[in-house]
């Protein structure tokens, strides 16, 4: 067993399935995503089959099941961003990266997530790539932004 998973699990009583969500949150916090092994460990701890844990976890937007990409793209989905062009931007991102929120590109370069309001409504719509903010976006500019990370990498 992974040392840190066991450290997280040790904080929670065995067999108590209402601890599931907090445990998953702790693991995601630590590793950035929920690995298969982690979920099986959690299942053993709480006496839950992994299908049930996966089913429940996928019900919430907050969990990822793949490691983050080198560039992690977060899209703000707060009200202001939504009123601005966030939905179009999401579509654009999905089209360019060929992944859905929660997923990571095959080459491990990019991952995508949707966040509830990031608290910068006056700059809507916006995305964050790792620590860089791109604000007041126009959906048409998404391609260039993504390209800039690809070329920056080369």
């Amino acid at each position: 067993m992974d040392y840190q998973t066991s450290a997280i699990l040790a904080k929670y009583p065995r067999g108590q399935s209402d601890c599931l969500i907090p445990i998953l949150q702790d693991i995601q916090e630590e590793y950035g995503y929920l690995s298969e092994t982690a979920v099986v460990e959690v299942g053993r701890h709480l006496d839950l089959p992994s299908s049930k844990i996966f089913g429940l976890a996928t019900f919430y937007n907050q969990f990822r099941f793949e490691p983050r990409g080198r560039f992690h793209v977060s899209l703000c989905h707060g009200t202001s961003c939504n009123v601005a062009a966030a939905p179009e931007i999401l579509r654009e991102l999905e089209k360019i990266l060929k992944i859905r929120p929660g997923e990571t590109t095959r080459d491990g370069m990019f991952s995508l997530e949707i966040l509830a309001c990031m608290g910068a409504c006056h700059l809507a719509p916006l995305i964050r790539v790792n620590d860089n903010y791109h604000t007041k976006l126009d959906p048409g500019s998404i391609g260039d932004i993504i390209d800039s990370y690809i070329t920056g990498e080369e």
Binding site: F54, G55, T58
Partner: protein
């Protein structure tokens, strides 16, 4: 206690505490339903079954709401009909439009509901679901685009099997039924029992289609196609042709298989007789040595997979006797060529089984010799019905025939393998013979019959008392497995079948089989036994012939390589 309720302005009687739906049913009023299933606590999720109840806010799901004294109910008011109709229209709005090509065309519950509610135009346009077919499993195909998310498969898998292979994944309009990490079914904990197919209202779940491969073999001049069929198939197939459950048509099956072009027709029950001989000696030997007790049966491949993945510590307890299907398969490719003159290399061996897990079993590596499978292809009861229709054979116009020599001969003990408890009864009947004790006075073991999930018997044979347990419906076996693990199990022999009631209720049987059909099939098997002269496996003359002429009596090295196998731990995402 009886209460009175008013339904559509008429007073009817109902049992206190029962649901509205069951009270209506008892009074001849049929309410459409999707998510509710007999023997499962209703969830009220699909709302197909709504009715109007005076004084209630909004419509009430009748499958989950209990009746109250003087409740006033309207079952088919305009408001009710409209609500039900809308549900069907919504389900159809994102459903693929390929009914004509669908495996469930004609037996689909969604089609039936649309017809019942007279939905005859598309008013609601939705985005069609598009998912890739999951072909990974040797037994079961998943087509999520046909899924209407009723959840019945999930509940059966969880509550009757305790396998927990599948669940609702994602949410909103992206919800599907999937495995952990959306793995293909073959990499999940699925044990291929097919019980999910049996309850699926649509073609979201169905068996792997083996007919094209069979057609190739049948038309290949280099192949000699032999077939065996399992005991349950004989007492079930008639249902696929509109006959009411409980009729044994084995004679017609022999005739029909001949007509289709199978070279020889054999009865899997013959091999069940061999399996009884082998298992009985295994049991006696282990009991003597007090080793790995209880002996757990291993003729159900779904159950075997369950042990391999979840209870690998208990593998030594499994009987290492192969299942009847594989025993006959192995005889057909080893000994049969010698006596029949058919070249071993040309034999193509087919089995018809009431089971989807048998497809999985046939392709297990342990069931091959030097890369050649003992059984090349497995058809379900449903597929056999399709095959017969494909060949345009009118079942009413053929005369029964007998199965071929020598493996068409069977005792009725072998036939009992189709029903939960039958394997045990057959073994008990043969134990005195193998142990050299006096024959017990009984042939029938009533305590091991019937539809209960767990049955038991204590029987003295010679000077020793043996304790037997019979379990069907995998969920029922869990307490017993924990007992064995803890060294607290007092049984000598435990028969386990994954499906509730045994193979007669297997996942390859007609879809939507109800409890009465299963009971009727059970009765049919027991009445074959009543009428039979040879009721003991060891009295099957062809079995004795095989042992004496070819195998040098009971267990020996030759039997070991032909009839026995081993299983090993299996890693899946649990």
């Amino acid at each position: 206690m009886i209460v009175k309720i008013e339904v559509n302005s008429k007073v009817i009687k109902a049992q206190k505490g029962e649901t509205i739906m069951s009270a209506l049913k008892a009074n001849g009023i049929k309410i459409p339903s999707i998510c509710s299933m007999k023997d499962f606590t209703p969830t009220g999720a699909c709302r197909m079954c709504v009715v109007e109840v005076e004084g209630s806010q909004g419509l009430v799901p009748s499958c989950s709401q209990p009746v109250n004294e003087w409740m006033k109910i309207k079952t088919h008011s305009p408001q009710v009909i409209k609500a039900r109709k809308t549900i069907v229209e919504l389900l159809l709005s994102n459903h693929p439009d390929d009914c004509l090509y669908c495996v469930r065309n004609g037996s689909c519950e969604l089609q039936a509901l649309a017809e019942e509610l007279n939905v005859r135009e598309r008013r609601i346009m939705g985005r069609k679901n598009k998912y890739k077919l999951d072909h990974s499993s040797p037994s079961i195909v998943r087509d999520p685009s046909k899924c209407i998310l009723c959840g019945r498969c999930v509940r059966v898998c969880d509550e009757k099997l305790s396998v927990f292979a599948i669940d609702f994944v994602n949410r909103g309009n992206r919800t599907i039924i999937g495995t952990a990490y959306n793995k293909d079914l073959n990499f999940s904990s699925c044990i291929n029992c097919g019980q999910c197919i049996m309850v699926c209202p649509t073609a979201a779940l169905f068996e792997k289609d083996s007919l094209p491969e069979l057609e190739d073999a049948l038309h290949n001049p280099e192949k000699t196609v032999l077939v065996q069929y399992a005991p349950s198939v004989g007492v079930t197939l008639a249902e696929e042709f509109g006959v009411k459950p409980g009729k044994d048509i084995s004679g017609l099956i022999n005739a029909v298989l001949k007509k289709i072009g199978f070279e020889r027709i054999f009865d899997t029950s013959f091999a069940a007789d061999i399996s009884v001989m082998e298992m009985t000696s295994e049991l006696l030997a282990r009991k003597n040595k007090k080793e790995n007790m209880p002996l757990l049966t291993s003729c159900c491949p779904a159950w075997v997979k369950y042990v391999e993945q979840l209870y690998p510590d208990l593998l030594p307890f499994l009987s290492n006797t192969k299942s009847p299907q594989q025993i006959l398969g192995s005889v057909l490719k080893s000994y049969y060529p010698e006596i029949s003159g058919i070249a071993a290399g040309s034999i193509y061996s087919v089995a018809v089984a009431p089971c989807t897990a048998k497809k999985f079993e046939a392709q297990r590596e342990e069931m091959t010799k030097k890369g050649i499978s003992e059984v090349d292809l497995v058809l379900t009861t449903r597929e056999l019905a399709k095959l017969i229709k494909l060949y345009g054979i009118d079942m009413n116009q053929i005369e029964p025939e007998i199965a071929d020599d020598p493996y068409g001969m069977r005792s009725s003990a072998g036939k009992l393998f189709g029903v939960s408890g039958g394997v045990t009864e057959a073994v008990i009947r043969t134990m005195p013979h193998v142990s050299g004790a006096r024959e017990p006075s009984r042939v029938k073991y009533q305590e091991l019959r019937g539809g209960k999930g767990k049955k038991e018997a204590e029987i003295r044979i010679g000077k020793t008392t043996y304790r037997f347990a019979v379990v069907s419906g995998l969920s029922n076996v869990l307490p017993l497995l924990e007992d064995i693990k803890a060294g607290k199990c007092e049984y000598d022999f435990v028969e386990v079948m994954a499906c509730m009631g045994g193979c007669i209720n297997g996942g390859g049987q007609p879809v939507g089989s109800d409890e009465n059909a299963v009971k009727a099939r059970m009765k049919a098997l027991y009445s074959i036994d009543e009428r039979e002269i040879i009721r003991f496996s060891h009295k099957n003359p062809k079995v004795n012939e095989l042992y004496n002429n070819h195998l040098g009596g009971l267990p020996g090295e030759k039997c070991k390589s032909l009839f026995h196998t081993t299983y090993s731990a299996r890693k899946v995402l649990l």
